[in-house]
Structure formats: structure tokens, C-alpha cells
Amino acid sequence: MNTPYLRIEGLTKRFGASTAVDAVNLDVAAGELLVLLGPSGCGKTTTLRMIAGFVEASEGRILLQGEDYSGLPPHRREMGMVFQSYALFPHMTVAANVTFGLRMRKLPKAEIAARLTETLDMVRLAPMADRYPRQLSGGQQQRVALARALAIRPKLLLLDEPLSNLDANLRQQVAREIRGLQRKAGLTALMVTHDQDEAMMMADRLVVMSEGAVQQVGTQEELYERPANPFVARFIGHSNLIKGTLREGAELAIPGGAIRLAAPYAGGGEATLAIRPERARLCAADDPAARIVAEVEDATYVGAHIEVLLTLPNGERVILHDPTDGGAARRLHPGDRAGIAWDAASERLFDAAGAPLPARAPIPA
């Protein structure tokens, strides 16, 4: 059997009666950048801190190259971490910061000097070597933090919200830079973020976490197109979630009406329909394509699209993105009735437990 570079088995952290991280299992391939994504308090940071050794796991194992790291103190783990606050040593110059890990390893002086030059060149900070962290901009400090972690040639690169303290216009650039360096060095990396765009932009694969548990692991496309449960559907991108009762596998009954489903489903009972705002379109109320008719509450032109807020017969609101290039929404006014249409590929139905309901007959390609 093929052993993954990093394997996390049943990793659990309990604080008193509450469980911060609940039996997390992950496999990370060598050279991969895996992003842990979730709202604050979902356990992603605690997971990362357990891997770094700052937090002791209540249960579970961390296997790096097949070796069990559980119980190993942080300074013996050979992992390079970039902290959210950068955590630079304020009393040391950039050069001293970057070489700290090398000096701890008691490398020969020549080797330390060579690696310092190499690493500073990598992050384009060579002219700043003698400055102190407080004399640098946020973006430069961030690069020092990265250089310091890279200099030790870590077995694993850990990134804790590395972009959250940067200006919005710097973020994309730094994200690409980190990604480039990680790829070039062939490093396996784990990153934690609550920012979906950041995660989408940098990850090879993503892990969506909520309430201490892994909700879904997959590529950007897998998460977006085939969310495993309503939480992922709403958290990745955005989805309108409509609860109702599945009748005869063909329609979802909601108070005051019914939604005609695009695909046929097996079974019945309580179900949740997920529809993305950009995957549905508006049509006339009497258009046969309309799956449900709703009342327009508001339509706002936001440039890329028109954001249309509609009220369903059950009183719930849904949001739709109508294209601005001559879409119907521009002629819509509050109080108008409009049909909402979508096709089978854009529809996702979950059962009462939150598991996706498969369409009964696979749609021919």
C-alpha cells in the first residue's frame, strides 16, 4: 500500500467537556498544499497546532513519512511554521531571524551564510538583512517569516492564516508568491484560513471543517460542484438552501407551493435543495421552464451581475445573480412575479441527515 507523506489518524482534541477537534483523518501527498478551511472556531487552527506540537492531542496520531510524531516536542519536529502575527523576533535583525533555526541546528558558519543569502534572495529581501522587523512593512515582515520557515528546509511547511494581516491588494500577490516558493522547493504544506478566496487560490486540495469535524476533502471543483452536505454548499461559494419534503422523487413541497426538480430522485421525506445564485436564471412566471415562481423583493445592479432578491411562496428569501448583458432582471421591479429555472447539473439535493441524494438515473453525458 502506498503510504502518504503525511497521515493524520483520528486526531482529537478535547478541552474539558467540549471537543475542539473531532477524529480528523487526512492524507497529504508529498509536494501538496492542503488548505484547512472553515469558520472561526471550527478546529482548523487547533489541528495545525497539534501537528506543530504546540497543542497535545487527546487522541490520534500524526505520521510524517511513516514516523509517529505524537508526543514529540515542537523543537524536534522539523516543521517550519508561518504565524498569523508573523511572530518575528523583535530584538533580532532580519538576518538573525532567518538564521535562527540554522544556528539552533549548529550548522557550520559557511553553510548558514550560504543559506541566508539563498533564502533572502528567494523572498527578495537581501537589501533588508540588517534591518529590524519594526522597520519593515507588513508585506516584508511576512516574507521574513516565510524565509525563516523555509531556511530550515522543513519537512512540512505550516501556514496559519498567512495573508490575514495584509492589505487586500497585496494578498493575491503574496498568495501567488507563497505558492510559487512552495512549489519550487517541493515542500509539502498545510495552510489554515477562514478566507475562501485565499483557499481556492492556493490549494491543491481543500479540507472544509466545521465544529471540529472534517465536512469534505477535495479539489476546488469537487467542493464547488459536488458539495458533500448543505454546510459545504453554503460555505464554498454561496448556495440558497431550501428545505422541503421530497414528493415522488420529482418535486420538493414547501409551504405554499412546490418546486419542480430538474432530476428525478429515489425516495422521499425531508430534503434540502441547494441552488447557487449564479447557476439559476430568471424567466417569465408563465415560462414552462420555471421550476418555481417567486416574488421579486429587490434587484440591485452590482456590475458583474444583477443581484436579485426573491421571496418564495414559503416566505424564504433566495438570491440570484442575473447576467447584466440584457437579462430579464433589469426590467424587474419589487412586487413582480418571476420564474426561476435551472438544469439538473446545477441542482443538489440533500436528505434529512445532510447526505447528498443521488439522482435516480444518471444523466447521459
Partner: protein
């Protein structure tokens, strides 16, 4: 009129406006009063130290700097200053040795008895110095009787007693300093391969520098100027400067004492100025 009608003028006017408000005036008045109240004793001491008469009368019959020269005729002031400096230096070092590890434990660790330790370390601040002095005196005498080792007037007892009043300051200042430090900096050091002791000496303590300097300063001054507790623990030939001044005043009131006080003030002020070159005192105290 400055820049009237221009934007800059408008801003200037807006900034200047509060200067004329009653509240701002009151604040300035209170600050001035405060400075006056604090400066008066010092200014008076400096003034009196220049009186020519051997008995302090007002107005003086003339002025002279002769009292400063006469300090040298009273070697016990010099000896007392030496004792004070020695005790204060030892008490400062001792309180750092106890206080820094204690504050690290209090801030960084959760352990049984943490609350008790915290209260215990700060409690001497709440007990009157006379009470501590008497208690230490009684305990020392009892120990002397039991062990037959002469203790009263020894550096050891004075330093130990002074630790009681200096350690709380060191703990208080170091705790305040540590609480403000980013824990992740220490984690970063560990992450880069530094074992716990290296983290302490290469990262934690250097980052506490300002707190430690402030703590040393307070410990030194608290020890140096203490009278009420020290009064119980001195012996002939082993007297601190404030007490020798007090003893002198019991027999005579002449400008010599004022001159001694001024010399002491200049010594301390000189130390502070020297220190200020390395650490901005206004930022830490």
C-alpha cells in the same frame, strides 16, 4: 489672523479652539498644581541647602555652598550611602532572581496554588512597612537566640527584608510586560528548533528587557528609600542613608541635611538619565 478663510486656517482654528475651553484650562491648571506640589519639597531642600546660617531661619542672613563641602566631615553619611547602595543592589538582583521566574510561572503556566502564589507575592505591598519591620525584627532576634549567630544589622537580613518589598514590584512589572508579549514568538523559536531553555534565554528574556529594566529601577528605588521597615533592622555602623539623615535630624536641623538630600537626589537622577539613554523610561513606567 493666521490663514483665515483657507483650509489650513480652518484646521488650525479647529485645533486651537479647545485651548480656550474651560475644561482644557482646568486640566492645565491641575497639571501645573500637580507639578508644583511635587517640585516644592525638592526646590525647598535645594534652597535651604544654600542657607549660610547653622540654624534654619527665614529669611536667611546669606547664602553659601559651604554645607556641601562639610558633608565630607561626616563620614557616616558616606558610609550610609555605601550601605544603601550595596543593600539596594543586592535586593534588586535578588528580587529579579525570584521575581522573573515567578512571573513566568504566573503568566505562562496554570498550576495548583497559582492564585495563592499570586496573592502571596503581591501581599507585602498591602502590609504597612512598620509591621513588616517589626515582624522581621522579632523573627531575626528569635533566630539569633536559637542559633547564636549574630544577624541584626547584617547585610543578609537587610537584603532578605528588602526582598519582601522589592519582589512584589518586580513581579507586578514583569507580569504586566509578559502579558503584552506575543506568545507565538516563543512558539516560533521552538518551531525553529530551539529547546525550552534556548527559547527562554534567546527570545523570552530579551523580549522582556523593558519590563526587567523597569522592574530593576523600581526595586532599587523602593529599597534605597525605605525607612520604616529598615529602621528595625539596622545596627551601629550598619545604617542606610535615609536613616542616617533621620538620626542626624534628631539632634540638629541645619542645611547640611538638605545638602545631603540634594546629593542623593542628584545621584539617583544621574542614574535615571543614564538609564534613559538605553531605555525610554517614559515608555515603561
Amino acid at each position: 489672523m493666521v490663514g483665515a478663510g483657507t483650509a489650513a486656517g480652518a484646521i488650525g482654528d479647529a485645533r486651537r479652539a479647545p485651548r480656550f475651553s474651560a475644561a482644557a484650562f482646568l486640566v492645565r491648571l491641575l497639571i501645573a498644581l500637580g507639578v508644583l506640589v511635587m517640585a516644592t519639597p525638592l526646590v525647598m531642600a535645594a534652597y535651604i541647602s544654600l542657607f549660610r546660617d547653622a540654624v534654619v531661619v527665614f529669611p536667611p542672613s546669606g547664602y553659601s555652598v559651604a554645607w556641601y563641602a562639610r558633608i565630607l566631615e561626616f563620614p557616616r553619611f558616606g558610609e550610609a550611602l555605601g550601605t544603601s547602595l550595596r543593600i539596594a543592589a543586592l535586593a534588586t538582583l535578588g528580587s529579579l532572581a525570584l521575581g522573573i521566574p515567578a512571573s513566568l510561572a504566573l503568566v505562562r503556566h496554570r498550576f495548583v496554588g497559582r492564585g495563592v502564589l499570586n496573592v502571596l507575592l503581591l501581599s507585602p505591598l498591602t502590609v504597612p512597612g512598620v509591621v513588616i519591620g517589626l515582624a522581621v525584627y522579632v523573627a531575626t532576634v528569635e533566630t539569633e537566640i536559637a542559633t547564636e549567630v549574630p544577624l541584626i544589622g547584617s547585610d543578609l537580613v537587610l537584603v532578605l527584608a528588602h526582598l519582601l518589598i522589592t519582589v512584589p514590584w518586580v513581579v507586578r512589572l514583569c507580569v504586566a510586560n509578559l502579558v503584552g508579549l506575543d506568545r507565538s514568538v516563543e512558539e516560533a523559536a521552538a518551531n525553529l528548533g530551539a529547546p525550552p531553555l534556548s527559547v527562554l534565554f534567546r527570545v523570552t528574556l530579551p523580549m522582556m528587557r523593558q519590563g526587567i529594566i523597569a522592574a530593576s529601577l523600581f526595586a532599587f528605588i523602593v529599597s534605597f528609600e525605605n525607612i520604616e521597615m529598615t529602621l528595625f533592622l539596622i545596627a551601629p555602623g550598619q545604617t542606610t542613608l535615609p536613616i542616617s539623615v533621620l538620626q542626624y535630624l534628631e539632634y540638629r536641623i541645619d542645611p547640611l541635611v538638605a545638602a545631603v538630600v540634594m546629593v542623593q537626589t542628584f545621584v539617583i537622577a544621574g542614574l535615571l538619565l543614564l538609564l534613559d539613554r538605553y531605555v525610554k523610561l517614559s515608555r515603561i513606567v
